[in-house]
């Protein structure tokens, strides 16, 4: 009885807290190769983000001259020489597929390159941390400052930090809205409070999210919000380069002096001196020596930190390095190992990227600048005219993706005797109805096709409706049915 009770107690009673306060992380300043790579990537990414909307691209009259513009009001997306209409949204699908595949490829080559260097969360957090270090000092100073009671100096520093953070966050939101309207005009309107409410609202939202995520949430985003760490854990393998603590070289840990003594006796001594520098510089606060883990975004800053220490104590650098699991295991067994960049996995990813990319480029290169879509009247399917001939009506939508007026002649491929008429067509040349479609827009017209009674033998027959550009010669066509009463 007692045993059963105890067992029940053990099963239902949970020890320890269910909720934990986030551990405060004070990343330390670090210098080295990977820190520099991160600085340059940060500059490049933010430079593109903040200044791209101001880049101009001449598309001729009638069209906006902003290189990258999401024109929601007119339902157009402009990207340099590409102009995308809503129905061509599959280009974005292609881009997203390529983006996912590139991520897979990065992962199988060099681990979480995205997380460590390119992810906006990483980039903005890095920027916010740099601001923090500038104002409040390095790791020790910040720990000390936070532990102190409030005093004037502390208040000044904190206010300064949050002000700069909010400034950057506001600029982030400001740059965001510039992608949705003509940037220089919008900047002027924003300054004179002439901009639409939506613009201010979105700036506000983005200011809040940037300030909250990069200033306060930081590694919590990676640990608890982002799905990628979970997915990437499943994508990496033992042949991929990852930021790795080479425990074959590092263990057993001991102090520098002790290591000298141990080595003198010929016994193995690890290079790791347990200085905790790798942990102190880590922006997510993990200990890389526990191996590859969810919290490690693989930014390589611990490599820089460890290299600095190794150089100081006169041991070879890269105790922490980009390395593969297979290499570590091979070294432990004393076997030779060579990293292979070209292997089935990477080749496959490259091949799929090439196929999808090729298909998209082909699609883009052969993109028509005109389009036609035809919708047969649903009610009625046909109408009998007074002389007994049969008429079908269609709603035809013509697309003109060029920035100037174009004239299209409508013709049909149908049995002899069939006549095409366009309601409201002004001109006809060679018996063909001619319609004019304005620049960069669509036109809906009502097309009537009439066939003599004798020509309509079947209940339904296929006809082709063609629109030919009178000057450029581009021809687009659509196939639809011509319905009759049947015999």
């Amino acid at each position: 009885m007692n045993d059963a009770n105890n067992a029940l107690d053990q099963e239902t009673h949970i020890e320890g807290p269910l909720y934990a306060a986030a551990k405060r992380i004070y990343p330390q300043r670090v210098h080295g190769l990977f820190r520099n790579i991160k600085w340059y990537t940060l500059l490049a990414c933010l430079g593109v983000y903040y200044f791209l909307p101001f880049l101009r691209w001449n598309r001729g009259p009638n069209l906006p001259d902003q290189a990258v513009l999401l024109d929601l009001a007119n339902r157009r997306f402009y990207f340099f020489f590409i102009e995308i209409w809503p129905q061509e949204v599959y280009y974005f699908t292609g881009l997203l597929i390529i983006a996912a595949l590139v991520l897979f490829l990065m992962n199988s080559v060099g681990g979480r390159i995205w997380c460590g260097y390119l992810c906006p969360q990483t980039v903005w957090t890095d920027l916010f941390m740099a601001v923090e270090r500038h104002i409040e000092g390095d790791r020790r100073d910040r720990i000390k400052l936070d532990a102190e009671p409030w005093h004037t100096q502390k208040i000044i520093k904190k206010v300064a930090k949050h002000t700069v953070w909010l400034g950057i966050a506001w600029w982030t939101g400001g740059a965001w809205v510039l992608y949705f309207a003509d940037a220089p005009t919008l900047v002027r309107d924003l300054i004179f409070f002439d901009a639409p409410m939506t613009a201010y609202l979105w700036i506000g939202i983005l200011t809040f999210t940037t300030y909250a995520l990069a200033g306060h949430m930081r590694e919590q985003v990676c640990l608890y919000m982002c799905p990628w760490p979970r997915i990437q854990a499943a994508l990496t393998d033992e042949k991929a380069l990852n930021v790795t603590y080479r425990y074959d070289r590092g263990e057993p840990r001991m102090s520098v002096k002790e290591a000298v003594k141990v080595r003198a006796t010929g016994a193995p001594a690890g290079d790791c001196v347990d200085c905790m520098q790798c942990v102190n510089v880590c922006p997510t606060g993990v200990d890389i020596r526990h191996g590859s883990q969810l919290g490690c975004i693989q930014c390589g800053l611990c490599i820089d930190a460890c290299d600095t220490v190794m150089t100081k104590i006169g041991r070879p650098t890269r105790l922490i390095a980009y390395d593969t699991d297979d290499a570590v295991n091979a070294r432990i067994k004393g076997l030779p190992y060579e990293y292979k960049l070209i292997r089935a996995r990477t080749l496959m990813y490259v091949a799929i990227i090439a196929i999808v990319g090729g298909a998209m480029i082909y699609q883009l290169a052969t993109r028509m600048t005109a389009g036609i879509s035809v919708l047969h009247d649903r009610q009625p399917l046909f109408v009998t005219l007074s002389d007994g001939s049969i008429r079908n009506a269609y709603t035809v939508r013509l697309l003109n993706k060029r920035p100037d007026n174009r004239q299209f002649a409508l013709t049909i491929d149908a049995p002899p005797g069939a006549v095409a008429q366009v309601v409201g067509a002004v001109e006809t040349a060679d018996w063909r109805p001619i319609v004019e479609v304005g620049p960069d827009r669509t036109l809906e017209i009502r097309l009537l096709i009439t066939m003599p009674k004798d020509a309509v033998k079947e209940k339904s027959q296929l006809i082709t409706i063609k629109a030919s550009d009178l000057f450029a010669g581009e021809v687009v066509s659509a196939v639809d049915h011509f319905i009759g009463p049947g015999s």
């Binding site: 107690d9 009673h13 020890e15 986030a22 009610q379 005219l385 002389d387 008429r391 409201g424």
Partner: protein, 291 residues
């Protein structure tokens, strides 16, 4: 409460004590902010209670501080729409029907407005797309009782057909010739066979077409014309073509001649505003039969 605190050997993390098939659950505490966000959303929801209509009362509900109501939004949107359409409505009102048809901008608006108004007002009888039905004229073919020109359509729309209370209404009588004793049934039957011969429909064997022709000339030709091709001035249909409003089978034709036909269309002039009627005119004209 036992003081038992089991730690997982590999990670050093405390377990929750739960075990399934030998797998122990580690106690990885949820971050506090997560819980706080949850509480914050609860507090936020009280905001909705305060600013938006929430509590039901006996005679209605609490209006909320914002005074929001979806009905008021609709009214406001409709008012906005009226203001925004003001210029277009004025343009349509001033322009002649021909001008509307010729101007792509005006006809685009008129067609859209006409289509909506047609669906609301005309489709119950004339069918969606103007297909019509037995007794309800098809509006997309090339055959018109009262004329298919813009002005004809407009007049019909404004005044209706056989609409009591409208002096201008389209008026004609297809009386019941037999019912009213104007024709004997054998005369009526002969006239039906004669009309069928005009329309190239099958004619009954041994029918006396000469008699039918005489009956037709004496009784029908005044409205339908000597040749049976109808007269739009009096709304008399062409009896020689392929279009039959009430059907071309012998039974329907007998019903028509014996008992008469009196289709009615309301006068829309009193019901719809002039701009809507103009738009309807252009729309009906564009369906395919417009002259």
């Amino acid at each position: 409460m036992s003081a038992h605190l089991e730690k997982d050997a590999v990670t050093g993390t405390a377990t929750t004590g739960h075990e399934w098939d030998g797998i122990k659950e580690l106690n990885t505490p949820l971050p506090k902010w997560w819980l706080q966000v949850f509480y914050a959303t609860i507090i936020w929801s009280f905001g909705y209670f305060i600013v938006y209509p929430s509590w039901p009362l006996i005679n209605g509900h609490l209006p909320g501080l914002f005074g929001y109501s979806s009905r008021a939004e609709v009214v406001k949107d409709l008012a906005d729409l009226k203001v925004r359409r003001g210029a277009q409505a004025t343009a349509l009102e001033k322009a002649s029907l021909e001008d509307i048809l010729k101007s792509p901008d005006m006809s685009r608006i008129a067609l859209a407005q006409g289509k909506a108004a047609f669906g609301d007002n005309c489709a119950p009888c004339h069918g969606l797309g103007g297909v019509g039905g037995k007794g309800y004229p098809n509006l997309i073919d090339d055959d018109w009782l009262w004329g298919g020109k813009l002005d004809d359509i407009h007049t019909t729309l404004v005044n209706g057909a056989r609409w009591t209370g409208n002096d201008e209404t389209r008026l004609s009588d297809m009386v019941g010739f037999v019912k009213q004793g104007l024709l004997k049934s054998d005369e009526a039957d002969a006239s039906i066979e004669y009309v069928r011969s005009l329309a190239k429909l099958d004619v009954a064997q041994g029918a006396d077409l000469a008699k039918g022709k005489k009956v037709f000339a004496d009784n029908c030709a005044s409205c339908h014309g000597d040749d049976g091709k109808g007269k739009q001035e009096v709304g008399a249909p062409n009896l020689t073509d392929a279009i039959w409003l009430f059907g071309s089978d012998r039974k329907s034709m007998t019903e028509t001649v014996y008992n008469g036909r009196m289709g009615v269309m309301p006068a829309w002039g009193n019901r719809l505003d002039p701009v809507t009627i103009k738009s309807l005119t252009v729309y009906v004209h564009s369906l395919g039969g417009g002259k």
